[in-house]
Amino acid sequence: MRYRISHRSDYTYSGPVDLSYHMLHLAPRILPHQRVGDLRIISQPAPAAKSERTDYFGNRVTYLTLAQPHGKFSVEIEATVEVAFPAPPDEAATPPWESVRDALRAGGDGELAVAAEFSFASPQTPPSAALIDYAAPSFPAGRPILAAVKDLTSRIHRDFAFEPGATTVSTPVAQILEQRRGVCQDFAHLELAALRALGLAARYVSGYIRTYREGTDGLKGSDASHAWVSFFCPGPGWIDVDPTNDLVVAEEHIVLAWGRDYDDVSPIRGVMLGGGDHFLNVAVTVTPQT
């Protein structure tokens, strides 16, 4: 499926900013199942310096330096992305989840070793007994891993209410587990923390999802950035699941970046001299193209 995406972030500052540095994770990754074209990053004011690098996880990172005083900063990314996630394997044919856990622990070389790094706890996804208790019913002994993860994903979708504003970017997983409310980032962190507490390898994936609206054209800028989870299964490799929507990812998700948790892939991080308070407005549009 081909999409045209546009993601615009507008910052307004209560005072002038003399100098700022920004680090963006806004260029979608190029993957075997995702092609990216026509990528443009436009910033206002124009940057004094701009460079692109790849980070530790292989994500494309853009660095901007704004050296002239400014009271507003906006950055807009546009791209055409063609997505076709491979169909997931038959869930009964995937290995028992404990065998995946044991294989990761044994380490070794190649893709298993790379995947194993994602089985460690990360700052936003600490393990806890409460998480293991919550996840355990989805992981009885011998259950094939894809079936178990799909079950956990469905349960999170069912047990937790999607409520913007109930949490912030830094709400801890323990609190989310207790209050049973949050947004896609929280559900992703929760599922990640649970999977890692069980010894499995999983990544935090940030990106976009196509949202359906009545009528032929979606309202511009009303779509959202999205977060979901990717877990490792020897054989098929990484399989993406979305706890906010209870699905295995296929054609309706576009990958921006992945890492251990939100902190590794936050869309814009920056440091500025001056500015006072800042206000942010984000507008995302994902338009399918035929």
Binding site: L19, A49, Y56, T65, G107, D109, R269
Partner: protein, 482 residues
């Protein structure tokens, strides 16, 4: 981490090897000093001790302790009796230290590069990759001359005339070098006649050697004489005295984060004559505070964009970011293997036998023998967070055992060592007290070690820790040529 002279030396007083020998039959290197001790009345020692304290206070060689209330400026007790090593012992130590630091640098480079040591199964991957000291932005970043730890403090202890053990490696910001230099300065003022009688190798050239080391790792693209600066967190840092001392002695600028700016991946310092390019930064700020764009965003001490300049190869940071991966007390146990793997040599200096509680077999042994062992937190420092088995009560050991069972990965255990002692002037007169040694190894294109280093002494009788915040002091260290 910075500031406190850290290091826990664990020892039992009986039976220890005394480095002087006995008053009647001193070891050859102590002949002159032993004689002097014998002929000097205690009242004169007391006078000289007071003179030393006065000199320290007047020069302002203090460190700051803010957490205890009262006057935060403290002196580290200085003992006026020098600790002496002879030239041959020093040659041996020196060779071992150079070898060890070469292996450590190769290891750190490998961890942030091809990770061959991990792939060869020499160290468990999770010990490195899960480690809070493993800094991901350093992966694939090339540093000048492949050197990550430019100033390494390798803590060494001794149990008999020929056996030296490395207690721990400090590859980030080992402190104490200013004490080494000032101790010598004060000793030479107090006892000029003693120096006339012994051929003591000098240490005062350390700042020159440090500057040479820093210059030798300037980025390749640096044209002409490299500009070196010392980046300090500022005057409220407990080691600020050492920062100003070194910057002054080296003749370089001392800067704080706000004095530096990065433009187009080049680091500049703001001077009254405009921006001046900076090539090498001797940074005394922890990794997490260095660059708010990449690390802790609440840091006011660092410079946004520093990591970008670093990655672009336009500036060298000494010590490199991420060098702390070699500091970890569990990684310490693999250092002899690093020497074999990266250098193809047998290690000259030995590690203290260590049990890693992360391994179930080792954990079982440690729990059974808690009364005989010293157990330390792998990320601990300053003698805190540890258990000294033989000196703990049954209740303390039981409590610690619970902690060990809940978080075994965080602890290692070592046998209590009977550390060497050295004559020390204490209230009862001259008596033996346990000592350790921290030589400072400078690693640039060449490796230089100033003779001796900082000797730390546990001033309380039978005391187990030489750490300055727990009753430890320092001594001047002499390397004597007989």
């Amino acid at each position: 981490m910075e500031g406190r002279l850290k290091g826990a030396v664990v020892a039992m007083v009986v039976p220890a090897f005394d480095e002087m020998g006995s008053r009647e039959a001193p070891r050859p290197c102590y002949a002159a000093v032993g004689d002097w001790i014998g002929r000097t009345p205690a009242s004169l020692f007391e006078l000289k001790r007071q003179e030393a304290e006065f000199c320290f206070r007047r020069t302002g060689i203090t460190f700051a302790v803010y957490t205890e209330g009262g006057d935060p400026e403290r002196l580290i007790p200085f003992d006026i009796i020098p600790r002496i090593l002879d030239g041959q012992e020093w040659e041996f130590l020196s060779r071992g230290l150079k070898q060890r630091v070469r292996a450590l640098n190769a290891f750190i480079g490998d961890v942030y590069g091809k990770q061959e040591f991990i792939h060869a199964g020499k160290v468990p991957a999770d010990l490195i990759l899960k480690n809070p000291c493993f800094v991901q932005p350093m992966a694939g970043l090339e540093v000048a001359a492949g050197i990550y730890t430019h100033v390494a403090g390798i803590d060494v202890v001794r149990v008999n005339p020929t056996e030296f053990y490395v207690l721990e490696d400090n590859c980030r910001t080992p402190s104490g070098v200013s004490y080494m230099i000032e101790n010598r300065e004060i000793m030479s003022r107090l006892f000029p006649d003693l120096f006339a009688r012994c051929r003591v190798r000098p240490v005062s050239h350390y700042p020159e050697e440090l500057l040479d080391t820093l210059r030798s790792v300037a980025p390749r693209r640096c044209a002409g004489e490299p500009t070196v600066v010392l980046l300090s967190p500022g005057s409220y840092n407990s080691a600020y005295y050492e920062h100003t001392f070194l910057a002054d002695e080296m003749g370089i600028e001392i800067v704080e984060g706000a004095d530096l700016v990065v433009d187009d991946d080049v680091v500049y310092m703001r001077t009254t004559q405009g921006l001046q390019r900076v090539d090498v930064i001797y940074r005394r700020i922890d990794d997490a505070f260095l660059d708010p764009q990449v690390f802790r965003s609440d840091s006011m001490l660092g410079v946004a964009g520093l990591m970008s300049a670093y990655r672009a190869g336009n500036v060298t940071l000494a010590n490199a970011v991420g060098a702390g991966i070699a500091d970890d007390k569990a990684v310490y146990t693999y250092v002899p293997e690093m020497v074999r793997f990266f250098l193809g040599e047998e290690p000259i200096l030995r590690n203290v036998p260590t049990w890693k509680c992360a391994e179930p077999g080792d954990l079982a042994y440690v729990l059974d023998h808690l009364a005989e062992l010293v157990v330390k937190d792998v990320h601990g420092s300053g003698g805190y967070g540890m258990l000294v088995g033989p000196h703990a009560t049954i209740a303390e050991r039981a409590a610690f055992a619970e902690v060990l069972r809940s978080k075994p990965d965080r602890y290692i255990a070592q046998p209590t060592l009977s550390l060497s002692t050295c004559p020390t002037f204490v209230q009862q007169g001259i008596a033996p007290r346990h000592v350790d040694l921290r030589p400072f190894v400078l690693c640039g294109r060449d490796i230089h070690i100033v003779p001796g280093g900082l000797t730390r002494v546990a001033l309380r009788e039978g005391s187990l820790v030489v750490n300055s915040s727990q009753g430890g002091g320092t001594k001047d260290t002499w390397v004597i040529d007989l």
